[in-house]
Amino acid sequence: MGALQSLPGQPEHIDLAEKTGFSLEQIGVLHKRFRQLSHNEETLRRDHFNEIPDLACNPIRAQIIEAFFDKRNYRQNGEGTVEEISFEDFLVVMSHFRPPSVHMTEEQRESVRREKLRFLFNMHDTDNDGTITLEEYRHVVEELLSRSGALGKETAKGIADAAMLEVASISVGHMEPDEFYEGITFEHFLKLLNGFEIESRMNIRFLNMDTTTLCK
């Protein structure tokens, strides 16, 4: 891991390209960005992310940064969090946002979709117990609404509760009044977002062009 030079077309880059599906140019651009963020170090830490000015006003910034340090997102069945990440980890996390290639079978498409949703699910499921509990969900909604001024915490709670109830009614169906809904499991999550166009919602065009100089 690590020790990479910034020139594209290096053997390490070719490995990475195979592993993550990025093109060599894209890896080159991303690597440049990585060096820029890490101030030419081999690894990135949380405060490096916190320094990105554009990110400062993103309401769910914390969750997203956390996703980069979450072992679950490295496609290696790991758990827990790490303190710093290498370029490879960075790329692997980024590759969750790669648009799927045009020629794919239905099954592949489905598995890509699953993977992407898994990423999202993990982001919400902060304690990694396989369910998004009400508490965790409230946290998400609270953060989302944190920038819209007057909508206070209580509203967030109200909305989270209502959404959770909606989830309960969709995924469990009829519930006895004193039944208890544990939280959203991944299966429920898939079911909930069934009609969702994940293709257009969780993809980013990774340019071959280098625009890093324009971003701060």
């Binding site: 997203i64 509203t155 009044p177 625009t211």
Partner: protein, 829 residues
């Protein structure tokens, strides 16, 4: 069914015949008779009535035609078996043929025609304004690149290629002897190049293709109308100028003019949109007409653009797009609804009229100049070049698109290139003195319109099914999806920020920030600025929907009958009286008096809502309703905020008496309880913190009780009389307590002048409430899950909606007695 449809159609035709003949044939004779009479009677004295047809002729005819068009639509829509196969627009045109035939048969000339002035000034603007106003902005701007490419390059390509090919064919001698030069072909090409939004919407509305495909076709058709008008004007100028005077300078001027006209029109639209938004900021005091501003200013933007010879269509489109967000937020909700509905009425109405008149216009001998070669070749080239243009442009676009446009979608885009009234309107505008073959062009345009609207319109649906085009997912808006959507948005922006890309999301985020910072401040009322969040909007909308379905449900069951029905109402009072007078005689003595009085007073629908909810809530505890009803029953909560509003401000602020009263009714139990507990020295917070537990027990009790009326009775029984004694008596506000369910809640005055000790307990309970809610995992019981949190937000109302329902329900069942005979009495009496 079909036979029935035809029957009714024939009826309408007969009707129109009658109208027609009465207005033209007999009536004019009649009129002349009358005028003779009149002239005769001039001498004798004052006529009692006069028949003055000529006095009202024009507006009368217009109104009649609108009526006929409306009736036609009604007949056509009466049977969905037909409209499922043949699109409405095609049927309307067909109807127009018939009407035109009748008119022709009567007059032997086409008296009614769609003049381009009527079309462009009175029929088109509202359709375009409506489309702009209801444009899904995010989708539109997300695909703006593609739309612009199709609209500008595609249209120019269509016009140029058609003109060139036709000209070539003429040179080749395929069309016989025609006096049309290349420039005139160009003019013809430009007028027929544009896909027509009216026709496209009419067809695609019924097909439900996926939203990206829809916005591509729809957005293109909207914008290219603007483009085509501009193109037409430029070509028209070229034709006027004559071939010999055209040089490079003129051509460049034409191109510049094209862009100036198109972008100038759009900018003008933006300016007017901002103007509307600004205006609606300060229409608080004239709410009743604020909806009118939208239409008037929209129309003015159209006319202004026309005056400045900018693109009027683009102007009004962008006016609608730009202002929708702000006016929807600024205006009162009822005004927004007014605008929405009025838009639809106007747009739909004029769409209907346009199609009917497109049909009627066909029945005119003068315009039919047949030239098989010209007409068939035009049709052929239009189809071919549309396909070619779409494929080439999509190929280029797909290189830049994240989600490429599939082959099937391309076919649909190409096939969806319907021509319509705009082309016809432009063809009518052709100057006969300069273009010798105007009638041939007009006739060809009509045939193209008929062909595309009728043939392609009919085949569109089978084609979509056959090609298995991805349809729009019919999803109700759910909160969780909205939340996830937002998460996605922010996540994409964040990833772009981290990876240092300047992409679509990055730009959108920058724009949103800019808008939040500047535009919103400028254009939005300060009061609405804060709760504009779209998750909240969905929340609000869902709440409203639940509330409405609640009422609907209740009314369907007929359980609200006694509110609507005077006698039943009084009946109920009597029953109530009988039953409770023993238990709480002192309350009844007071309340029943203005109870009865209330029955003769205003009947407000609001209490009926509460009643229904109340009933539902009790039912829910009986376990007979599905979980969706659990959501609904929290309508209760939505109102609770009023309590706060009331209690922190003085009475005069809250002018709506009914509202105030409702608050009283709702909160009375709690107040009673807290009062009681205060008196008895029980600390209220403690009590409330126990609620979760009790709640569940209570639910089981409810389950066993079964009968809701009994439950009601029991709960009413549960009120300890002495505790409430000091609180009643004084209340004599306007409307009586209409809602029997809340009858036992006595006196609101107590809270108007809350005694300090009572106020304290109230505050206590509201503070204590969150503690119960704040448990990590709530058991999902009907009484503590709530969908309906605040409907309106005020800055410091944090605790207003936090008052859980639990106390109310809990108290209701608090001292519940086992089902008694009294409950039965209520039922039987």
């Amino acid at each position: 069914c079909v036979a029935q449809l035809y029957l009714s159609e024939i009826k309408v035709i007969l009707l129109t015949c009658i109208i027609y003949f009465s207005s033209h044939g007999e009536l004019s004779d009649f009129k002349s008779n009358l005028s003779q009479d009149e002239s005769g009677s001039n001498i004798t004295g004052i006529p009692i009535v006069r028949f003055r047809w000529d006095h009202v002729e024009t507006p009368y005819l217009i109104a009649l035609w609108i009526l006929v068009a409306g009736l036609a639509k009604m007949v056509i829509e009466a049977n969905h078996h037909v409209t499922n196969v043949i699109p409405e627009s095609a049927l309307l045109i067909g109807f127009g043929f018939i009407l035109g035939g009748i008119v022709w048969g009567a007059d032997l000339a086409q008296t009614f025609k769609l003049s381009q002035r009527t079309f462009f000034f009175f029929l088109l603007p509202q359709i375009i304004l409506d489309t702009g106003y209801s444009m899904p902005n995010k989708l539109f701007f997300g695909n703006l690149g593609g739309i612009l490419v199709y609209a500008i390059i595609g249209t120019c390509w269509n016009a140029a290629s058609l003109a060139l090919s036709l000209w070539g064919c003429q040179k080749g001698g395929a069309m016989g002897d025609l006096d049309i030069g290349f420039l005139q072909y160009l003019l013809f090409g430009s007028l027929i190049a544009a896909v027509d939004p009216v026709a496209v919407i009419a067809v695609f509305e019924q097909v439900h293709v996926n939203e990206v495909l829809f916005i591509l076709v729809f957005g293109e058709s909207l914008l290219n109308d603007g483009v085509t008008v501009v193109l037409f004007n430029v070509c028209d100028a070229f034709v006027t100028l004559g071939g010999s005077k055209i040089n490079a300078v003129e051509i460049i001027k034409g191109i510049i003019s094209f862009f100036v006209v198109a972008f100038g029109g759009s900018l003008l639209g933006f300016a007017f949109g901002i103007l509307i938004s600004l205006l609606t900021r300060c229409t608080k005091n004239i709410q009743i007409i604020e909806a009118g501003f939208v239409f008037i200013l929209g129309y003015l933007s159209y006319l202004t653009a026309e005056m400045l010879s900018l693109s009027a269509i683009l102007s009004i489109v962008f006016c609608g797009i730009c202002c929708q967000k702000y006016i929807n937020a600024n205006m009162d909700e009822s005004s927004v609804n007014t605008v929405r509905y009025a838009m639809k009425v106007f747009a739909n109405g004029s769409e209907t009229i346009i199609f009917v008149f497109l049909g009627i216009s066909a029945i005119d001998k003068t315009i039919w100049v047949w030239n098989t070669g010209f007409i068939l070749l035009t049709l052929f080239f239009i189809l071919i070049y549309r396909f070619m243009g779409t494929f080439i442009l999509t190929w280029i676009l797909n290189r830049f698109r994240l989600v490429p446009i599939g082959l099937i979608d391309q076919v649909i885009i190409s096939y969806g290139g319907l021509r319509g009234a705009v082309a016809y309107g432009l063809a009518v505008m052709l100057d006969e003195t300069r273009i010798k073959e105007k009638n041939l062009m007009l006739c060809t345009t009509l045939i193209v319109v008929y062909f595309t609207v009728i043939i392609q319109g009919i085949t569109m649906k089978p084609l979509v099914t056959w090609l298995n085009v991805k349809k729009a997912s019919v999803s109700e808006d759910s909160l969780i999806e909205k939340v996830q959507n937002k998460v996605f948005d922010h996540m994409l922006v964040a990833i772009e920020d981290i990876s240092g890309q300047i992409g679509h999301n990055y730009m959108r985020d920058k724009w949103n920030n800019f808008e939040d910072k500047w535009l919103s401040k400028l254009l939005l009322k300060p009061s609405v600025r804060k709760n504009r969040d779209n998750i909240f909007a969905v929340f609000h909308r869902l709440n409203l929907k639940d509330a409405m379905s609640y009422v609907a449900e209740g009314e369907r069951k007929g359980s609200l009958e006694f509110i609507r029905n005077e006698s039943a109402f009084i009946d109920f009072t009597k029953k109530f009286d009988d039953k409770f007078s023993e238990v709480m005689s002192d309350i009844m003595a007071d309340t029943s008096s203005h109870y009865n009085r209330g029955s003769s007073m205003r009947r407000d629908p609001v209490p009926s809502v509460c009643l229904e909810v109340h009933e539902q809530a009790i039912k829910g505890m009986n376990g007979v309703e599905d979980s969706h009803h659990l959501l609904q029953q929290h309508l209760y909560k939505g109102r609770k905020q009023h309590l706060h509003r009331y209690s922190r401000s003085n009475f005069s602020v809250n002018t709506d008496e009914n509202e105030v009263q409702e608050i009283f009714q709702r909160t009375m139990r709690r107040r009673l309880e807290s009062f009681k507990s205060a008196k008895m020295g029980v600390a209220p917070p403690k009590k409330i913190s126990k609620h979760t537990k009790k709640d569940q027990q209570q639910k089981k009790q409810h389950k066993t009780t079964g009968n809701e009326l009994k439950t009601k009775a029991d709960s009413a029984n549960g009120y300890d009389v002495p505790g409430s004694l000091p609180m009643r008596v004084t209340y004599r506000a306007g409307a009586g307590i209409e809602n029997p369910t809340f009858m036992p809640d006595p006196d609101p005055t107590a809270s108007m002048h809350i005694p300090p000790w009572l106020a304290d307990t109230e505050v206590d309970s509201s503070i204590a409430a969150p503690s119960q809610r704040a448990q990590v995992r709530l058991p999902w019981t009907p009484s503590n899950l709530r969908r309906l949190a605040p409907l309106r937000l005020s800055t410091n109302s944090t605790d207003s909606f936090m008052l859980p329902e639990a106390p109310a329900t809990q108290q209701r069942g608090n001292e519940q007695q086992p089902p008694s005979e009294e409950g039965e009495t209520v039922l039987s009496s």
